[in-house]
Every structure is written in C-alpha cells, then in structure tokens.
Amino acid sequence: MEMLSVKNIGISFGGLHAVDSFSITINKGELYGLIGPNGAGKTTVFNLLTGVYKPDIGQIFLDGENITGRSTIEINKAGIARTFQNIRLFKNMSVLDNVKCGLHNDYKYSSFSGIFRLPSYFKTEKIMNERAYEILEVFGLEKEAKILSSNLPYGKQRKLEIARALATNPKLLLLDEPAAGMNPSETEELMDTISLVRKQYDVTILLIEHDMKLVSGICEKIFVLNFGIELANGLPQDVLNDPEVIKAYLGE
C-alpha cells in the first residue's frame, strides 16, 4: 500500500532548478533514506513535501489524498510531521511543553475553558500529560521533562525534536539529518530509537542523511539526489554499488 506518492514535482528559484521532476513512492511502514551530496536539494524536497514551498509542477499524494499546494499546517493535519536540519525547538519552553505542542491538534479544549479553568481543561491536560510522558519515555527523556528544552545536551535536543514530531501522530515522519553532530555511540543509540519508534507507532519514515554507510544500515530503500535530479533509487546494495552514485560522491 502506498503511503506517499510524489509525481514529478519541481521548483526553481530565480531560474535555478533546485528540484527537478522528483518522483518517489514510499509504501506503508517503509524506512526510506534520501541521500546526496551537499546542495543536492534534499532539504528542498522536505520543504516541498511539508508545504513550506509550493511546487511549481507535479503532485503529492499522502495515503491516497492529494495534498499538493496545501499549507504547512494543513499538511501536518493530513499526517506529515518533520524535524529540521538546524534544530528548531521551542527554546524557552520545557521539554514536556514542547511535546504537548505536538499534541495541539489531537487533544483540544477552548481558550475559554483554559482561562476559566473549566473541567475540560483539567480532563484534557491530564490526558495530554500522560500521552506526552509516554512519548518522552520512548526517547528516554522523561526525567528531563520539566527542564528548559534549550538546556538539553545536543543529542537529546535532536531526540526531543523527533518526539515532538511524533506527538502530532503522523502517518509519515520526515527526519532531516537526525544524526548530524552526534558521536558514533549516540548515532547508534538514535538508530535503535528510530527502529523502535517505527515498530511502536506504526509510522512510515523518510530520512535525510549525509553518511551513506549509516543509511545503508537501517534503510530498506535509498533514493540518491544530485543537483535536484534523481541519480539512483532502490535497494541499498544496488544503489551503493551504482557507478553513477560513486562518481557523484567521490568525483571523477
């Protein structure tokens, strides 16, 4: 069953084709890797999928639903959540509140109930706290729940960002260089967490990584992007032995 189906999307900035006829199909439950050299357009693909940029051409379907041209907010509601290459946490809020922001659209009560502390406030907040702690436990962050998110060490900030994205209960999770800046043991731990999340939350994942070895370890399929166009796409062993890919990475 297809979870994400992208058909020939493209965008140009001032004449430069940042992404050109990009197509990908990701099946439900798959863990897909998106790799490519610096400036290949990987993050632009994420920005197109999440509605930060609107594609000039092409169509995007999520779980059979056409989401092309929708706003970031609507796309999140439809079921795509993401993390960012340069971490974007809510810095002046606690770790717990960061996750609770992710629960914003699934657990609701009115501003009026909040201001006047009506029963729905207490009821919903209690459920939100339980749910948020559940997610934090998966990432081993439950002990830091009350501290300011900017006071977390770097590796945990990356994890918190994934936790927050997961809290929006997505069908598809986009991870933009989740292991950037981590040491090898932290990276390994993160990869374990990603596998765990995938099983426990039944979520499809597309992740951007720089390091091919790392990606080949956990991804079932790999897509290689270079200068905004597809270079290779398929099973890890095929892709990594593709002479075009080797050329793009190592040069002539």
Partner: protein, 365 residues
Amino acid sequence: MTTQFLNIKKLNKSTRYNIVTVGSILIAYAICMYMINAGNMSNLLQNLLVAMCYYGIMAVSLNLTVGILGQLSLGHAGFMCIGAFTGAFFSKIMINTMDNVIIRFTLAILIGAAMAGLFGVIIGIVVLRLRGDYLAIVTLAFGEIIKNVLNVLYIGYDSRGIHFSMKDTASLNLEEGGMVIVKGAQGISGTPRNATFTIGVALLIITYLIIVNLVNSRSGRAIMAIRDNHIAAESVGIDITKYKILAFSISAALAGVAGVLYSHNIATVQSTKFGYNTSILILVFVVLGGMGNLRGSMIAAILLTVLPEYLRFMRDYRMLIYAIVLIVMMIFNWAPIFINWRKNHSLKDAFNNILKKIVKAKKEA
C-alpha cells in the same frame, strides 16, 4: 500547621506561584486600606492608588503581546484610549436611566473591553501578517490614528439617537435638550467617578489570572511556540494567525479595561493623553519587569508610578531614566560581554559555592 505547609508544597509550581502573587497583592491592598482608615496615608499616595492599578493592568496586558507572543506593539495606549472613551460614553448616557452603580460600572467595563478587543481583532488581522519591525510601526500608526480621530470627533445624543460629527458641536444638529458627550479635543468630561481602589485591585487580579491561566493552557503553549519558532510551530500544525490574533485581542481588551478604570477615576478623558509617550511608558514597565514575567510587570508599573512622585530626581529626569532603562536592560540581557559576565557571576553559583565551603568546613571540624 505542618500539614498545611505540605499541602502548598504538593501543588504544582505555577499554581503556587499564582497563590504567592495574588496573596502579595491582597496583603499590599490590606495594608493600604488599613493606612487609609487609620489616616496614615498621604493624599498624594491616595491619589495614585487607582493609577497603580490601571498601569499594572496595562503592563501585564502588554506583556502578553511583547513577552509571551514576542511581538512589539507601540500602540497599546490606543486600546486604553478606546476603552476609556467607550466606557465613559456608556456611563454618561446611562447615568439617568441606570441607577444601580455596580451594574452600570460593570457594564461599562465589559463594553469598554469588548470595544477595545474588537479593535484588537481588526488591527490584529491587518498587522499580524507583517514582519516584526513593520508591526511595531503599524501599531504605532494605529495608536496615532485613534488619537487623532478621537481628537476631532464630536458625538451628541438626543431623543432621535446618537449623532456624529468631525467638525464641531454645532454641526451635530442636536434637538433642544440634547447632550454633547464627546467634545473633540476636550474629550469627555463629567464621567461618574466610580473607580475605587478596591475595584482597581479586583480588576488587576482578574487581569493577572486571565493572562496567567491563558499562558498555562493549550492556547498559551501555542502562542509561546509561535514566539520561539514560528516555522516549527507551523510544522506541528499550530494555526499561527489564529493564536496571534487571540493574544493580541485579549491584550487589547484588557487595555480597554484599564482605560475604563482611567476615565472613571479622573472624570475627564482626552485623547491626547494616550499618545506614543504613554505606549512607551507601558513598554518600559514590561522591559524593566522582565519580558514574559507578569509579576515583574506589575511591580515595575507600581514602582514607576509611585517613585517619581516622591523622588525629586526621578521627577525631573523621569523620561531620561526610562530611555536609559530600555537601552541598558537590552544590552545587559543580550550583549555577549554581559552574557558571559552573568555566567561567571551568577548569584546562584556564588550562593552554592558559599554553601559548599560551609559544608566542607563543618566536615573538617
């Protein structure tokens, strides 16, 4: 006694903080009332009591926009102006028909808040799509437009209804026995002086609780998420426009409440009192009290209302001091030199070091 103490400790942190804040306001109120009844309070200070309340409300409500939402509004006095005029207008036309002062004044407050809130929504829709710096200028512009328009506005009322004019009293064409209520630059005079210190304190506490409860709720988290990182906020599905307008209009409505309190305290209200300088004064309260710190805003508002009346130095150089407060607070908070200095000289660390030394000395002994 011990069990009670334990109960307070069991409450969550923000509830405890609110109890302490509201408790402190009530204690200060009780002391003031005691002093008034015992005849120990100077007339000067008695005249400032209501002012402290409305400036406190202004500061806390502006903090919602500046500290919690993270947007600079330079037209907060404009909303106060709308509240002041609307409330005074209502009280004046109802003065003969509604005898019950409590109901009339309550309605005046609600109507003043609603009108200011309505303008907040309208202005919010216009300005909140703009980038930060533009927003500051446009809110300033709105404040000035409100002031300028009210300055030339004439409103009268007779048996046929309400009449408007932008020229003069005569062009209202009032019937015999009609009443001119808003007289251009002279504004509204003869408003019933219903605002008391007790009502002021009650409104200040209500304002504080409204904002603090909002902040500690789902909507408050959304507002702060937008402040901290609007791109990430969108990525988790938070409707940015909705929550910006919500925060902005609640802030405006509460400024309207302060305005009603103002116009029912001194009986005469003129639009020129609500210009740029007043908006800056409120901003100084917020900056000095700490952006996002509601308790700090109230303390700063009260101190800066009272001190200039007592300290000659502060009276003469008041505006200059405000300017320096704005600059120094920002540089102290954000300049790299001071950030490092604070890291190395934190009071908490110094205290902990002393504590460690004492413990060590005791162990050795």
